[in-house]
Symmetry: C2
Subunit: 311 residues, 2 copies
Amino acid sequence: MTDIVTFGEVLAEFMALETNQSLGTAGRFAGPFPGGAPAIFIDQAAKLGSSAAMVSCVGDDAFGRMLVERLAADGVDTSAITVRPEATTASAFVTYYDDGARDFIFNIANGACAEISPRQFDTVIRGCKLFHIAGTSLFSGHMIDLARQTADRVKAGGGRVSFDPNVRKETLARSGAREALTDLLSRTDILLPSDSELNVLVDIDDDEKAVERALALGVSEIAWKNGKDGARYYDGHNVSHYPSFEVDEVDPTGAGDSFGATFCTLRTQGVAAEQAMRYANAAGATAVSRRGAMEGTSRRDELDAFIAARR
Amino acid sequence: MTDIVTFGEVLAEFMALETNQSLGTAGRFAGPFPGGAPAIFIDQAAKLGSSAAMVSCVGDDAFGRMLVERLAADGVDTSAITVRPEATTASAFVTYYDDGARDFIFNIANGACAEISPRQFDTVIRGCKLFHIAGTSLFSGHMIDLARQTADRVKAGGGRVSFDPNVRKETLARSGAREALTDLLSRTDILLPSDSELNVLVDIDDDEKAVERALALGVSEIAWKNGKDGARYYDGHNVSHYPSFEVDEVDPTGAGDSFGATFCTLRTQGVAAEQAMRYANAAGATAVSRRGAMEGTSRRDELDAFIAARR
């Protein structure tokens, strides 16, 4: 019995050491850091004490071994991560610009994680309370099918589905992507959009009307992330705003995943939405203050201390 | 009319900055450097003044643009390098150990370069004098088919075929690899083995008997690379040994490709085997003394100066 399950990319991330460093010019990079939106989500869930399983594939290589070891060390059930000897573990290169923009090169859709089989879910999905879908993982029709099928299985078993649309230009450029995401919205219980992602997704500029549309599709809770501007919570009855904690931004990668995982994990543990939002904000703030996407995940005692120090 | 044509991987290489740095532990890397055995070969050929074309694919990304620009700047005809928007340009990570061992992680068989179409050869193969096959490029049945078909087309047009078996554990592990390489041997005019590659390939421990076997299969010239121990030349009549030039080894990657390209290019230009071997040794020595695989390629005047300085 695993409370929280996700699937998708576990990847080795390389970060340019200099700001404004082009990915097309020789420079210096730090890495491999463990990454991948669902990998960070599940790492954060395990650190908060829930039983948490990752469904993915890695290659028979040093990146894959590093990722599995790291997730296992943080308490994630890695039994549903399969080694594909003919494939290479996914990787990503990222560089940051002064204006806050990022530039990426991905080996994800062509990485081992693209080869997840539906049967890999079998041993971890029974009794699952929350199945999380990271929008970054929906890079192929196969991955979208896995998300849809698994969401249906989990909901049929009484579990809930969380969805972080994480819409990027790469995602939306794919034909049929919007339709697939909207379809997943209708299977979603907890929606975790950032900035204007929900507006883009439902094609409605007005935030409140976009929220109404999502609720009408069946979403029951929305934790809307706005970075430094804090987060909003909607459940169809109340709207609440939770200001962010002030921290020095070191590396924003993974902050949204830590936020979402903290919110969903605490909600699954029975914590009230208001408290879950505060802890999610604390998890997001902790994440942006640390270099490396998965270095930003926090244990419950760390979040307690973080919040207490800022009271 | 292009004198020298090759095909296969053009890739972005990342090198660990520290010796003995595991690819599974966060560290620092330098890159992206232009790399790929056939890319280095054709860059070296162009620098020696021959018309030289590369057949490959890249993604619509910074790595691919960097590679095409670099090859073009060095004089390579890049018109047969196609952009595959759905794919990612190939990349590789390498780390070096004190004992001379290297460890790699490749995104090659899953990179854009795996999607070369036979038709990409059409515009550059007419009148081709030398078609070069890098063993590293034979990572799929499709690539082996391309090598075989193109070798036959070039030989039918009166051109010659060079082959650097570049056998690595990854290559030999693949089922049918040995048979495919032996099949290519029978289409090879200039063979460019390193160390014990030819012995492994023909399954004969004795060097002279292994050479006899290759010559019996139809090979007409063998330039056998032994790193610091120099190189041997065989043509079925004579055997000659050419000592290597002494240099401080900075980065051995690409040295064999620079050697092979120099030998083949000068032979194609009509230079005598003895002189071509000396220049090939000079090109190899220059390559190992420079960091970055493609940084090691040399113009003719550089090789003249290198040899003159060591007389």
